[in-house]
């Protein structure tokens, strides 16, 4: 039987889908849908988006710089929510890791010689963890990030379609 959604059980798409669905069911179990105040809804939306990003980052593990950075960001944010002190601590370790990776890629701030500094900087802001990459790695990470984002959007669209009827 041909499963149109998951062609390969170990592909990025299926990994992301399973994780995301699990997270969604968890969110649904937590809160009733009847909350209608804007802030509540916003919070729910936020939670879902975070779940989506997190499941995507977890599906990629730490194989990519951007996924590592995203996981750190999410973790530090969740720590900050729970406990301000631990948030600061994790923030510090986050800084340390960023600094370390920036030391490894020491060519981040120099003029690339190809003249794409502004665009490169903008791209660095978009791609998580992009500040510590030189242009070459940045383009590589961007390609993988785009691939993962398209997968994420595809899966989410399909889920939304599925549950809307």
């Amino acid at each position: 039987m041909n499963n149109p959604h998951h062609l390969n059980p170990t592909s990025l798409k299926s990994r992301f889908t399973t994780r995301f669905l699990r997270a969604l069911t968890k969110i649904r179990a937590q809160k009733p849908i009847s909350s209608s105040s804007p802030t509540e809804i916003f919070r729910r939306y936020r939670r879902i988006k975070v779940a989506a990003d997190k499941s995507m980052a977890y599906s990629v593990r730490s194989r990519r710089i951007w996924s590592k950075a995203m996981l750190w960001k999410l973790r530090s944010r969740s720590y900050r929510r729970q406990d301000p002190c631990s948030g600061r601590r994790s923030g510090k370790t986050n800084q340390a890791i960023m600094k370390k990776s920036s030391n490894e890629n020491t060519t981040t701030r120099r003029e690339d010689g190809v003249g794409f500094v502004e665009e490169a900087d903008e791209l660095r802001q978009l791609v998580p963890g992009g500040e510590t990459m030189n242009l070459c790695n940045l383009l590589d990470e961007t390609a993988h990030y785009i691939k993962c984002l398209t997968t994420q959007v595809q899966v989410m669209k399909k889920i939304a379609d599925f549950y809307s009827f």
């Binding site: 849908i33 209608s36 939306y45 988006k49 989506a52 010689g113 791209l123 390609a143 785009i146 809307s164």
Partner: protein, 450 residues
């Protein structure tokens, strides 16, 4: 053809004294791990003059001709069971021998640094994907070229670092050829001696770097015959190219970046831009668009049509510059909630707008509730644009509101253009334009159906 003929000369001049060397090093090929020692201990004597060195070489090697080099390629390849590494070693071994020989010809005692360069090159070569080159031809030609590369590096002996860089950089190109030369088996064997053709292929594939190397080879060809009193510091480069190791490294970097840009071009739709800068802009806009889509989709999953989050102005991270109301929910929502939403016609929309504007003046929360009751939502313009372009849904009118100045400005969104980047830009520019028109209050309502 000139470069090839020069290569031939260089090769003949270089290899006639040293042609037996590779054979000797290739034959006892089982001890690939110790070939380094082989190079250095018996043959590498930095203090000897080149005459003594030559005598050493000739004495230690059995005499054989250049043509016999063909055969040694086979046994090493067949003998070694692990396919890649010993072949790599063969190729490197080969080049390293010649490199060390030439080094001694020209410099006394600069060899240590270059040895390190060799090691680094070896490592780099292992990691490089390599270039598609006629393998044995490439391998055969790599020898003299490598010699010249080493000449180049040894020429720059005062600038050891640069020499290593250049050797590395050139080796990345050429040594990769030899790498593949050793790895590729019999089909390339017959080409081993087709030097002119191999030279052609090499020069064509390597372009500028080959040109530089050939210039160097000519220089070294003339100098390796006797003891060069001084290494030639300035080799005349081809037009437009440079022998500066930094520029070579820069070129490699640029090539890598170009490769990645090509890969990105395939991922991004509407990638028909030839200009790199505009391509980057496209990429940036596409990434923004995708992130936006994720946001929108995560909103749409909040239990269907009527419960879409009205994003109020006090949540700046999600709202962006302006907010926007869309009749009937977002684009994807419209798809999902076909039956739930009454399709608003123009008149009711205008009325709704006025109502909401009035409510917004008083209390944001009530305005939101009003909207919710109608099944409308407030969302950033960029979000709505993303929805409209993502789903290609152009039937519903879009109402824009600018809340930056607390005076709701109603402005038409126009039809969503085909590419997401364009839509974002137009909306943003329109938003900016309207943001400036502060004073006109609710009367400045202009709604148009796309």
């Amino acid at each position: 053809m000139q470069p090839c003929s020069r290569e031939m000369q260089a090769m003949n001049s270089l290899l006639s004294p040293t042609q037996q060397i590779p054979l000797q090093d290739l034959q006892p090929n089982g001890n690939s791990g110790t070939h380094q020692a082989q190079i250095h201990n018996p043959q590498f004597d930095p203090t000897s003059s080149h005459d003594d060195f030559l005598d050493q070489m000739l004495s230690t090697l059995p005499s054989c001709s250049w043509s016999d080099l063909k055969s040694p390629w086979d046994p090493p390849k067949s003998d070694e069971t692990p396919p890649s590494n010993p072949d790599n070693n063969v190729g490197f071994h080969y080049d390293e021998i010649l490199a060390s020989k030439l080094r001694q010809h020209q410099i006394n005692g600069g060899g240590g640094g270059t040895t390190a360069a060799m090691k680094m090159m070896m490592q780099q070569q292992m990691m490089l994907p390599g270039r598609p080159i006629a393998a044995a031809g490439g391998g055969g030609l790599t020898m003299p070229l490598h010699n010249d590369i080493v000449d180049g590096s040894s020429f720059k002996s005062p600038n050891q670092q640069g020499g290593e860089g250049s050797v590395q950089a050139l080796y990345n190109g050429f040594g990769a050829g030899s790498l593949h030369g050793t790895n590729n088996q019999s089909p390339n064997q017959p080409q081993h001696f087709h030097h002119p053709q191999g030279g052609n292929m090499q020069t064509q594939s390597f372009g500028a770097t080959a040109g530089t190397v050939m210039n160097q080879s000519q220089a070294s060809g003339s100098t390796t015959g006797g003891a060069p009193a001084q290494p030639k510091q300035r080799v005349r480069a081809r037009r437009g190219q440079a022998t500066d190791p930094h520029s070579i490294a820069e070129r490699l970097r640029r090539e890598r970046i170009a490769e990645r840009m090509k890969a990105l071009q395939e991922l991004v739709p509407n990638a028909n831009k030839t200009d790199k800068a505009s391509m980057l802009d496209e990429i940036i806009d596409y990434v923004k668009f995708l992130q936006l889509q994720v946001k929108v989709l995560s909103m749409s999953r909040l239990g269907g049509a009527a419960a879409v989050a009205p994003l109020v102005a006090d949540m700046p991270s999600e709202v962006g510059d302006c907010v926007q109301t869309t009749a009937g929910g977002g684009g994807s929502l419209q798809r999902n909630s076909n039956g739930n939403q009454p399709s608003a016609n123009n008149d009711s929309l205008t009325v709704t707008e006025h109502q909401v504007a009035k409510l917004m003046e008083e209390d944001m929360g009530s305005a939101m509730q009003y909207l919710q009751g109608k099944g409308l939502c407030l969302m950033p313009i960029s979000l709505a644009t993303a929805i409209s372009t993502a789903t290609c849904h152009s039937r519903n009118p879009m109402i824009n509101k600018g809340s930056s100045s607390n005076h709701p400005l109603l402005q038409s969104n126009g039809d969503g253009p085909s590419s997401p980047s364009m839509s974002v830009l137009t909306v943003q520019s329109a938003t900016m334009g309207n943001g400036g028109l502060d004073g006109s209050a609710k009367d400045a309502a202009s709604v148009s159906k796309p």
